[in-house]
């Protein structure tokens, strides 16, 4: 009886040993192509946008009415906008050809050539995504600062 019990206990180890010693083709491992990185990044933007929307809604639901929490909501709005801009920027990038850029004297002299379509113009606009991300982080900074000070004042009271 003991011998049978010991054999049962040893079975997983024996199987692992057999697989290691006698390898074959591991078809279960999936290969990843080049566009997958872009898709993942884009999905991350969507996930981040949804999370920011959820945070905005959550803060609104939480009934935190102080100035700091309002700044945090503004941060969410700007960050969602930035995500939209960044997402569209990534999306439109494949539609811009290398020939659309001209460079006369180095990288800093790069120009986007016409004729200008909506795609080209929007793509150009998406390169200025910091116009959304900086205000967004500025409001986050204000939110943190305000919440901290308000907390200090509450403590004094």
């Amino acid at each position: 009886m003991n011998a049978i019990k010991n054999t049962r206990k040893m079975f997983p180890f024996l199987l692992l040993l057999m697989v290691t010693v006698c390898p074959g083709n591991a078809w279960a491992v999936q290969s990843h192509g080049a566009p997958e990185g872009l898709y993942v990044h884009q999905l991350a933007h969507i996930f981040y946008t949804a999370a920011l929307g959820y945070l905005f809604w959550g803060v609104r639901q939480s009934a935190f009415k102080s100035q700091g929490w309002r700044f945090l909501q503004i941060f969410c709005i700007f960050m969602i906008a930035w995500n939209v801009v960044a997402f569209t920027g990534h999306f439109l990038a494949p539609f811009i050809d290398h020939a659309d850029y001209t460079r006369e004297a180095g990288y800093l002299s790069t120009h986007l050539q016409g004729p200008f379509t909506g795609v080209k113009l929007w793509y150009y606009f998406t390169q200025l995504d910091h116009l959304f991300s900086i205000p967004s982080l500025f409001f986050l900074y204000l939110a943190m600062k305000t919440i901290y000070r308000s907390s200090c004042e509450d403590e004094k009271i």
Partner: protein, 521 residues
């Protein structure tokens, strides 16, 4: 417009990346400060981790962008193409992390709110508990104060009543349902002549002189609940009797059962004696006035009768029948005049001489005259005179008459017994500044029911013809006239205790200054 320069975008990207790093760092700093202040606060914890992840994402992205721009400016596109997947990968990873942290907010805040609600209810309960504890503490303090105040009041009250109990000059006592005296103040014990040790053994039966008084007292106190101004006689430890005015209240238990009584008794012996003396004095005074009036009214016709009878005696020979009758009339008239003279002496209407007298001499003179007669009847006289007695002021003759009266009375009392002893003594009583002469016999004594009447005029226990009943009345009048008092004891009391016979105490004041030769009242 045929082309758009990318330079603004490049510049904004580089500058913006730097600004983003700074802003995300500042946000992280405030989040960290918040967390440091209240590490247990979920909100600050969330904000800190959110800012931390955002800071990582911002730095990763900004640094990636800066490197990209720098490498491209430096025309190292190949290097950037090597680094770009790593930068993008990091950015993606951190963005997903940031999204993951963000979605925890809502659930976290729900948990936080639930905890806050619990904490709030706990705090409320704690506050209520604190309020209750404060109230309880206040109540306790109030209770302590109240107890202290009540204790002080009780102590003051107890002290007040204890002082009253201890310092009262009247007897205050408490007794139980078996009539045992459980507590009596020192004035009461002194009044009864008992010691503190004997107090525990005392019962009401021991101190009530008359059984009827005690029965009456107990019946009344149980039936009515109190007795008021009850005049009773108490028996002292030495056997003497005192008169007290007694007021007492019954004490009842929870079931209305009699558990004892508490009472106050005032010693009225002195008051009663004084009242008796006052009544006696008033009686004597009125009798004296009446006697004086009668004596004056009788004296004149008596003189006329005596005068005419003596005149008529000249007309008849003594041997004749008329002469014999006149002699009888004269003798009886003289006897009447003697009585009238005694009445006048009693009522102090007679003249008195005032001179310095030595009582011992007066007593010796009287005894010298009467001793032979006493010896004839087997009565032995004993003298016990104190030496160096101060003189008293008075009429020697009258005082002799007083002592003769006392010795005659003693003689009569002992004559019936077939003999006896007569003790004459004298001493000086310093506290009252009086000379005391004592005449004590061993005769049959004076019955208790007549002792109060012996000084009344014409009161006598002798057979008809043997006495007029004026002897002690006259003596009383004379001693009163001398400012003294007569006290009588029957049976007499000596050092050996109660003695057979009667003792008369004649107490005369020792007057300072020159005596008045004659005093006519």
């Amino acid at each position: 417009m045929t082309s758009l320069p990318m330079l603004p975008a490049i510049m904004i990207d580089m500058a913006g990346s730097l600004v983003i790093i700074i802003l995300s760092f500042l946000s992280l700093r405030y989040a960290w400060l918040l967390l440091r202040k209240q590490s247990e606060n979920f909100l600050w914890g969330f904000l800190f981790y959110f800012c931390l992840t955002l800071f990582c994402f911002s730095v990763s992205r900004a640094v990636g962008h800066l490197i990209k721009q720098i490498l491209l400016i430096l025309d190292n596109r190949e290097q950037w193409q090597v680094l770009a997947p790593y930068s993008g990968g990091f950015n993606t990873l951190l963005m997903i992390s940031l999204a993951a942290v963000s979605i925890y907010y809502h659930k976290g805040i729900e948990g936080y709110r639930a905890i806050q609600r619990k904490a709030h209810s706990l705090k409320e309960a704690n506050d209520q508990l604190e309020i209750s504890a404060d109230k309880l503490l206040q109540l306790n303090v109030d209770l302590e104060d109240m107890v202290e105040r009540r204790t002080k009041k009780l102590s003051a009250s107890e002290k007040k009543f204890r002082n009253f109990f201890i310092n009262s000059k009247d007897m205050v006592y408490f007794c139980d349902s078996t009539n045992r005296l459980v507590n009596m103040n020192s004035a009461g014990l002194e009044m009864l002549g008992y010691s503190m040790e004997e107090e525990q053994e005392l019962k009401l039966h021991d101190i009530f002189c008359n059984e009827e008084d005690l029965e009456n007292y107990l019946e009344t106190i149980v039936a009515v609940g109190f007795v008021e101004d009850l005049e009773v006689e108490f028996l002292r430890a030495d056997g003497t009797v005192i008169y007290v005015l007694l007021s007492a209240t019954a004490v009842f238990g929870e079931n209305r059962e009699f558990t004892g009584c508490e009472g106050i008794a005032k010693d009225l012996t002195r008051v009663r004696t004084m009242m008796e003396q006052l009544a006696s004095s008033e009686k004597m005074a009125s009798v004296g006035q009446m006697a004086a009036g009668v004596a004056h009214e009788i004296n004149t016709p008596l003189g006329v009768i005596l005068g005419y009878s003596q005149l008529m005696m000249d007309d008849f020979t003594p041997d004749s029948e008329e002469g014999q009758s006149l002699i009888v009339i004269e003798r009886q008239a003289k006897a009447c005049r003697k009585i009238v003279a005694d009445l006048l002496k009693f009522s102090r209407q007679a003249e008195s001489a005032r001179e310095n007298i030595l009582i011992n001499e007066v007593l010796s003179d009287v005894l010298a005259v009467t001793e032979h007669s006493l010896n004839m009847d087997h009565i032995h006289a004993h003298r016990d005179f104190s030496e160096d007695l101060p003189t008293v002021v008075g009429d020697t003759e009258k005082l002799r008459q007083v002592f003769v009266n006392f010795i005659n009375n003693a003689h009569h009392a002992m004559e019936e017994e077939g003999g006896g002893d007569l003790f004459l003594s004298s001493h000086f009583e310093e506290e009252s500044n009086r000379v005391v002469a004592i005449i004590r016999d061993t005769g049959h004594g004076i019955p208790e029911d007549v002792i109060a009447k012996i000084f009344d005029p014409f009161f006598t226990t002798k057979s008809v013809g043997k006495g007029t009943g004026l002897g002690l009345s006259v003596s009383y009048g004379i001693i009163q006239e001398h400012g003294g008092v007569i006290e009588v004891e029957s049976p007499a009391h000596g050092k050996e205790g109660e003695l057979q016979g009667t003792a008369f105490y004649v107490k005369l004041p020792v007057l300072s200054g020159e005596p008045v030769s004659v005093n006519k009242k």
